[in-house]
Amino acid sequence: MSKFWGASVIEIKDMISYKFEVFIWGILNPIMLGVYYYLWHSIYTFSGQTSIRGFTFGELISYYALTLIVSVITWTNVDQLLAGKVRDGTLVNNLLRPLHVFTYHLYKKIGGTAFTFVGQALPLVVISILFINLRITSLPNLLLFIISVVLAMLLTFAFSFLVGLSSFWLIKYAGVRMIRSGTVWFLGGNIVPLAFFPEAWQKISNFLPFQYMSYSPIQIFLGRYDLYGSLWVIAAQLIWLVILFVLVFSGWKVALKQFSAVGQ
């Protein structure tokens, strides 16, 4: 517990020393929301439809507001951090500590999220409630949503770390990072809801981890699943979490041998 406390406090202190960076994102996210609002407002107006693929305009804007809120919580650059440490060899410092590198970064991520939640997510929540009429559908839905978002955060984190392990072989990682974050962004439903994708793809998507990183929790919030459907989402998230954790910890051992096989 004290290790968790130590590492997360360090991250919060780090963020406080760069409060401007956090503040910038706090401004950018509401602007993004405004862009979505006007874009879809004109699409709905000109198409003359009241509902597109089962989304009314109000629902769709709520959906986008939620993707922004959820992405504040799930956002991670752990793969980039790891790649940097592999490249300049400072990973050695982490290896000399009695705390697994994955766990260390996870603790820091949680500390950092506590900070960005207050600095970025809460303002978005307030703006969404005031200006775009974001409302909870039911209290159980809200509770299930919160659980599901926490799991989504862990999923995104584990997936990013797993992809980041490739940096032990690639050394230069920027390209893979673009693909990693793009995949999570697109297949997680951050650009358009997965309901807008072809039917066949939606079926495939059920067997991939990405929709559980953003899309499914939001669907729970919007009340699009019954209780059984929501619990199934959480079960699927847990299954993926176990799979990714096994891959991360076994992949780590292989990657570490690679690290020490090259002169640093």
Binding site: K257, S260, G263
Partner: protein
């Protein structure tokens, strides 16, 4: 009892080769040439508890590779490493609780935060009891005189200040075994003295074992009784520093002041390095000649005012050993 036992340690690295120029850079797209660099070719030694052992050797000799294997951050190709009863690679997370490491100027501290934040992080990480932590921190802070600098962000510190803070961070959890890879590189003379005194004091008071690699013979002479010299991945000397003179000194230097003008002469085993008005500098090769014979010869030949006999500097001896 030996707290480090290294047996027949071997490690090779693959390193990719390419020439200069754009064409050469394209060539590696077709065929990557690599060569195997044998960093350690069978190294064995033991370290006893409470020792300060110096490891020296030219760049690329294999010192750092040996340290990495002992710290558990590198898997050896073959051979055995046992430190404090642990297998460093296999039991790393447990093992590293008991050691402290400083890898030269590589930052150990959180870059954007004051060092004091790192110290408090160490407290949480190693579960150091508050009372002990406070005592050690104020003691170390005073010894190294870093009360002031430990409150500035690390990125604003000078190399020497950062090094001192590194040392404190590595020793707060009272490790039994400490590895220091070039602890005085880039550090000014006064700070160097402080760091050396600090190491000596911690070693004496807490029986902490230190393994130090360095290129500064001052560190070695001040701190280490025993040294290991590594070159080309092999140990070429393992023993007391004081004995290295006896083993490797093949000559003595004579500095002679005369009452009458000096002139050059020939004598078996003597090499006259300089002749000025009333002075002579002579190197005596101990294989061919004894110092006594030379003295006797000189006394007969010149009117001598003063004579000084000296050994070559330890640095000269080490240089000689590296060249082999």
């Amino acid at each position: 009892m030996a707290i480090i036992e290294v047996k027949n340690l071997k490690k090779s690295f693959k390193s990719y080769k390419r020439g200069a120029g754009l064409l050469e850079a394209f060539k590696i797209l077709l065929a990557r040439k690599f060569e195997i660099k044998r960093a350690l070719r069978g190294v064995s030694f033991k370290v006893e508890e409470g020792e300060i052992m110096g490891m020296i050797g030219p760049n690329g000799a294999g010192k750092s590779t040996a340290i990495k294997a002992m710290c558990g951050v590198m898997l050896q190709d073959s051979g055995n490493v046992k430190c404090l009863g642990f297998d460093p690679w296999k039991q790393r997370e447990e093992y590293v609780r008991n050691i402290g490491v400083v890898f030269g100027p590589k930052p150990l501290l959180f870059w954007d935060l004051p060092a004091i934040d790192t110290f408090f992080y160490m407290k949480e990480l190693y579960d150091i009891p508050s009372e002990e932590f406070g005592k050690r921190l104020s003691y170390f802070t005073k010894l190294l005189d870093i009360a002031d600098v430990s409150r500035n962000p690390v990125r604003n510190l000078s190399l020497g200040e950062r090094m001192k803070c590194n040392l404190v961070a590595a020793l707060l959890h009272n490790p039994k075994l400490v590895f220091l890879d070039e602890p005085t590189v880039g550090v000014d003379l006064i700070a160097k003295d402080r760091i050396r005194e600090f190491i000596e004091k911690v070693n004496r008071e807490e029986k902490t074992t230190f393994i130090i690699t360095t290129h500064d013979m001052g560190d070695i002479e001040k701190l280490c009784k025993r040294i290991i010299i590594i070159n080309h991945g092999k140990i070429i000397y393992d023993g007391l520093l004081s004995k290295i003179r006896g083993k490797y000194i093949k000559e003595k230097h004579l500095y002679v002041k005369l009452e009458n003008p000096a002139k050059s002469f020939k004598f078996k085993g003597c090499n006259i390095t300089s002749v000025s008005d009333y002075e002579l500098k002579i190197e005596v090769n101990l294989k061919e000649q004894t110092v006594e014979n030379v003295m006797e010869f000189l006394l007969k030949k010149f009117k001598i005012a003063d004579i000084t006999i000296s050994n070559p500097e330890i640095e000269e001896i080490i240089k000689e050993i590296y060249r082999k």
